[in-house]
Structures are given as C-alpha cells and as structure tokens.
C-alpha cells in the first residue's frame, strides 16, 4: 500500500538500526511525545532492535490519558442527564472516571454516542433540535482545529442546543514542565508529528535552545521512528541542540495557518490540570468569552465534582517519563484493560495499554 509500505520496509529498517548502532557511543534517554508513536514502537517491535544503551521513555501525548478526572466526572454527570445526547470519540468511552465510564452511563440509560468527528455532533444537534447535544472536546493541537470548526459552524447555524465540554491540552508547555522537573532524565525528544502538522515547529525552537536538547519532529510509522531516533542520537552524540524535522512530508515550520487562525478565533490559552501530573500553566485551550454559550461546563450545572483518583496508579509518573508501565505494582494485576485504574490502560494511545496488549515484560 502506497504511503504505508515504504515506511515499514524491513531492509530500510535494518539499515537505520545499524546506523543507530554505529552512532551511539554512550547511554541516552529519549522521549517520544505521542502515544501513537509509543504504540508503533511496541507493536512493530522496532524498539527491541535498538541498542541496549538507548532508553525510550513514553511521553504525555495521549489525549484521553491526560484529561483530568474532574472533567471525566463532569462528562459522566452531563451524559446521565435526560434530554442530553452526549457525543465523544470512541477512545474516551472506556476511560474510567471516579465511579464509572461513559459506557457505564450508556448501559444505565444515558444517550452516549460515539462520533468520528465533532462535525457529526453538530449534525446531530441539527437533527434533534429538542435535545441538547454535547461533544467531549478533548485532545491536543491535533483535534483542536476540528473542534474549533464545530463551534464555529454551530454559531453560523445558530444552533442553541450544541455545546462542547472543552478539555484541550497543548504540547509545548508539557515538554517545558518535563524538562523543568529535577527528576527528569529526558535528553532528547521525538516531537509529535501530527501536532506539528497543525502548529508547525517554530514554537519548539526556543524550548530546544533554552534546555539544550535536540527535538526531532517525527512521524508514526516504524521507519519514521527509527529515522527520528537516529537524528536525535546523532545530535546528542555531536552535542547539538535544536529542532530537526524528520516528518517533512507532512510538517512545515509554520504549520497549517488557516487551522491556527480558526483555533485562535474560538479558543484562548488557559491553565489546565493534567491527569496524574497536575496543573501546568498556560497548557490548555478554553472557549473564548464570545463563544461561552457553547461551553457545556457553563450550560450544565452538575454541582461540585470531587474526583477520587486511585492511590495506586502511577500514570502521571509514566507520562512524564519517570517510570515505565511495568514499574507499577498494579500493572496487569489490579489494573487491566477490563478493570483499569488509570486512563493509560484503556486508551489506544496509552503506554500501559501498549505494554499490556503486547505483553511487555521488563
């Protein structure tokens, strides 16, 4: 298949593995930002072809994993209300809140529907003027343009029954937070290619300069990852910091400007709590006051939410690259995809889910 097979070619992969082996002279720790990249590593098994002195730690780039428990509990409360059609990406349906998940609310009679695009939720609102349609707007800069478009369209259509529960997060502030932590061992990053497709990579240049780290904008196929690792270790070995773009077939320095303009029109930057990590300043998007009527958080009074996280779950440390899933005493025992304690065990981009599904042992 074109645009896929080229990036899974065994001979080319072997060549990059050899090249990395020849380049690495001492131990390095790299973090891949995006959970999609983590899954490709583990699923294709290419991480096991890398030199043992190279450590990969898995970043926070799993949208449903970092969505705070309070937001999920709020979503569950809204979804359970009569008259509401609660729409969400499929990935979010199994993520545990304090007591249940969205599928649990559906089983108890809530109208919870999986959509593939927020624009489908807008269509639902048009089709059901007598119902309140709420979309759970989570994700990084990747999903923000489509979510902004949904709100923009709802406004143009004059829809009074559409709103979003907004819990958007941004990658650069999280990278800064990880680099600023004294416990951090990350020496270089594979940046999330699709986030950069929207935002470009200009905003990563000051981070690379300030913290003296190489940041390689990287794609999601096995060869993308191997090439990204190669570029990162080559920069580390040569003592270079800065941004390199492995994913040039998709990403430009400036990114997708019309998308950025729409996001800026609909959203403003806010402080945001990250599940398991805590509040990171200026790390999220909220609706601008001009679009406040589309804010489900304001439209539905669900009372005070007091969220109770499992004391056993170490998801926050995993997503900051401080520990790995199998370092968690609950992993695979008390915490499984059937009975998750934390979100990374159920998301298709969660590191714990990848380790569990492909049965990784230390």
């Amino acid at each position: 298949m074109r645009f896929v097979d080229e990036y899974r070619d065994e001979a080319a992969a072997r060549k990059y593995v050899e090249l990395i082996g020849r380049t690495v002279t001492r131990p390095w720790t790299l973090m891949e930002i995006c959970g999609g990249q983590t899954h490709t590593f583990i699923k294709s098994g290419v991480d096991r072809l890398l030199p043992a002195s190279l450590t990969l730690v898995h970043g926070p780039g799993c949208p449903v994993c970092v969505t705070p428990l309070e937001s999920i509990d709020r979503a569950l409360a809204i979804a359970a209300r009569p008259g509401v059609i609660f729409t969400s990406f499929g990935d979010m349906l199994r993520v545990p809140g304090s007591t249940t998940d969205l599928l649990g609310v559906k089983a108890r009679g809530g109208d919870v529907r999986m959509v593939y695009s927020p624009l489908d939720a807008v269509k639902l609102a048009q089709k059901h003027p007598e119902r309140e349609v709420v979309f759970f707007a989570v994700g990084f800069e990747t999903t923000a343009p489509a979510n902004a478009m949904a709100v923009w369209q709802a406004e143009k259509l004059g829809l009074g029954n559409f709103s979003i529960l907004c819990s958007h997060v941004l990658v650069p502030p999280a990278m800064e937070a990880i680099l600023g932590s004294p416990a951090s061992r990350v020496q270089g990053f594979l940046a999330a290619g699709h986030v950069c497709a929207v935002m470009g990579y200009r905003e990563y240049e000051p981070i690379a300069a300030r913290h003296r780290v190489p940041i390689v904008v990287t794609g999601f196929e096995p060869l993308d990852l191997l090439q990204g690792v190669y570029l990162a270790v080559r920069a580390l070995e040569e003592g270079r910091a800065g941004v390199e773009n492995q994913y040039a077939r998709v990403v430009t320095r400036e990114g997708n400007r019309p998308a950025q303009a729409l996001m800026k029109q609909v959203f403003e930057v806010c402080d945001r709590a990250w599940r398991g990590i805590g509040v990171i300043p200026a790390s999220g998007y909220a609706l601008r006051p001009a679009y406040a009527r589309f804010d489900a958080g304001k439209r539905f009074d669900v009372g005070a939410i007091t969220a109770q996280e499992s004391p056993l779950c170490i998801a926050g440390q995993i997503m900051q690259g401080l520990r790995k899933p199998h370092d968690c005493p609950a992993f695979g025992a008390l915490c499984t995809p059937e009975h998750p304690l934390g979100a990374p065990m159920v998301s298709s981009e969660g590191a714990c889910a990848a380790y569990h599904q492909y049965a990784r042992t230390p």
């Binding site: 298949m1 896929v4 097979d5 899974r8 070619d9 065994e10 992969a13 072997r14 999609g36 583990i42 699923k43 294709s44 098994g45 290419v46 991480d47 096991r48 072809l49 949208p63 449903v64 990406f89 499929g90 990935d91 979010m92 349906l93 199994r94 529907r113 999986m114 959509v115 593939y116 489908d120 989570v138 994700g139 990084f140 990747t142 999903t143 699709h194 096995p222 060869l223 499984t336 995809p337 059937e338 998301s347 298709s348 981009e349 569990h356 599904q357 492909y358 049965a359």
Partner: protein, 357 residues
Amino acid sequence: MSDAQLPPAGLPGLQCPIPRSEYPQVTLAHGGGGRLTHALIERMFLAAFRNPALEPLHDGAVLEVPAGRLALSTDSYVVSPLFFPGGDIGSLAVHGTVNDLAMCGAQPLALTAGFVLEEGLPMDDLWRIVRSMARAAKDAGVNIVTGDTKVVDRGKGDGVFINTTGIGIVPEGVHIAPARARPGDRVLLSGRIADHGVAILSVREGLSFETTIESDSAALNGLVGALLGALGERVHVLRDPTRGGMASAVNEIAASAKVGLRLEERAIPLAEQVRGACEILGLDPLYVANEGKCLAIVAPGAAEQALALLRAHPLGREAALIGEVVADHPGRVMMRSRVGGTRIVDMLSGEQLPRIC
C-alpha cells in the same frame, strides 16, 4: 446476485407473498399465534424454506440420521444494518451456523430458525431476509426444518434477530479439536481477513465511507469437506475467525492446546482497501470479524497438499500458509511484523474503538 436477476429454480420469487396492501409491516399480531402467525408461517417461511421435514408444520421436525457422531451448534445473529455489502442478516444466520458445524468437521444436516421480529419491520425487508436465508441454505446444501417466530414491541428490537441451530454429522476418521494442535503443525488461512467487519463499518451510520469492500459471508462446508476428504486425520484444528477476528481464534487454539503459535504478518492475506480502512480508523485487522474464512492447522507433511486443496476451491483461492505451531511460549501467539520486529498477538479486550487522532 442482485435483486434484478431472476431467482434460480426452486428458490422463492421476488414478490413478497404478503401483499403490501394487506400488511405492509410486521404487527404484534403476527407473533400472537393466531391467524396472522399462521399466514406468516405458511405464506412466507414455508414458501421460502419448503422441504419434506418442514412441510408438516409440526411442533418439531423428525429427521433420518445417517451413522456417525452428531455435531450440534447454535448462534444468534444481531447485526446493524440488516443489509450490508455482500450479505444480510439472513444469509449470515445460515452461513454462521453452517460454518460452526463445519469447524467441528461436520457436514451440516439441518438447521432451525428462530425469528424475533420488531413490530413495524417492513414486510418487504422480512421477505428479502427470508429469501436470502433460503438461498444460502440451498447453496450450502442444508434444509431449514423447523422454526419459531416472536414479535416484540416497537423499540425493543433492532428490526430482526435470528437464532439458528444446526446439526451435522462428523464422518468417520475426522477428529477436529483445538487441543489437537501439535508443535511442528502448520497454520493455514483460507483467504483475506477483515472483509466482513470493514464492510459492516463502511455502512454504519455516522461512518459511511466509499468502498467496494464486501462481506466475505459464505458457507465453508464445501471447502472444509474437500480438505477433510483428502487429508482426514491429518487436519488437526479448524476455526472460523468470526467475532474477535483472527487474533482471538489463534489465541484460543494456543491456550487450549498449550502450544505456542508463530505467525508471519507479511503472509496474512489482506485486501489493500481493507488495510487502508483499518489504517485510517486505527483498527488492527487481526481483531476484525470474518464470516467466510477458515483457519486450518494441519500436520507438517500435509501443509502443501492442504494449501493446494484450499486454493483449488472458489472460497480458498487466496489461501496462504501463515505460520506454525511451536513448543516455545505455550499459550502465546507471536508474530514477526512486516518491518522485522516481533510482537505478541493477544486477545482483544472489549471492543476495538477508533482512536482520537
């Protein structure tokens, strides 16, 4: 076959036997046991399924049974939408149970059909489904010999649910069981995976995408008969990887026989369109359903002949040797990925849900 073509001899006609002017839709009375129920049974079900065992319309069917061991299997069919590219709930309900019998090494003898109809189901839709069942049963060489009909209130069903139960005869010298997989055995697959699941997804509300992918729904008793006829005891395991896909089927075999399985990703047949759809939706085709494919685990010396036999059958043209049974890692399935890494293929947990980005 399209509806525009004439049905072959012995198959019910296109025209719904219960005219639209009479009852355009199924009503609660059609399940009440009275006149309307009888009209439905005689004019629709008997007309479509007619055979000597069904004809008396007694409480049950009485069958002549040849010598051998009896295989028995049951399955209920719920699918949305009822009609999908390459099939419908009717053909699926016949193929599914015929295949379950075939995977026991049995040649199917007779089927039962239980219908749970939702009030308001268009009579024309029911006729289309019943005709499709009749055609599928005829093609598979099996009779529908007894049945049942119930009607539930509107909103309490999804149009129609069908249960089929089948019996079949396992010939002498055939011993099929998952536990018979032995180290050294070869793993064969009768064709491309994931067609059915992707065909269904392509017509689901909210996700229609343009494709020519059709469900692979088909009766495998002919294919399996050819394999068993020539190889007998040397066929150790048969499995149709339906719900949960191929990954679940191979895991069940590995667990049951306490052996390891080693697969080669590159060797697993997969249509380009299906692969593309799975890439876009973030689904792993190994976990996507099939309704007309068969996994066969055969003795090492029989692999080449088995492959030739499968490929000689119209339903096995793209059959492939995809792996082997090993003594290492009992209960676990390992797969060499296209790019040269190794991964574990585990059971699916819950449903595959499309990812966010």
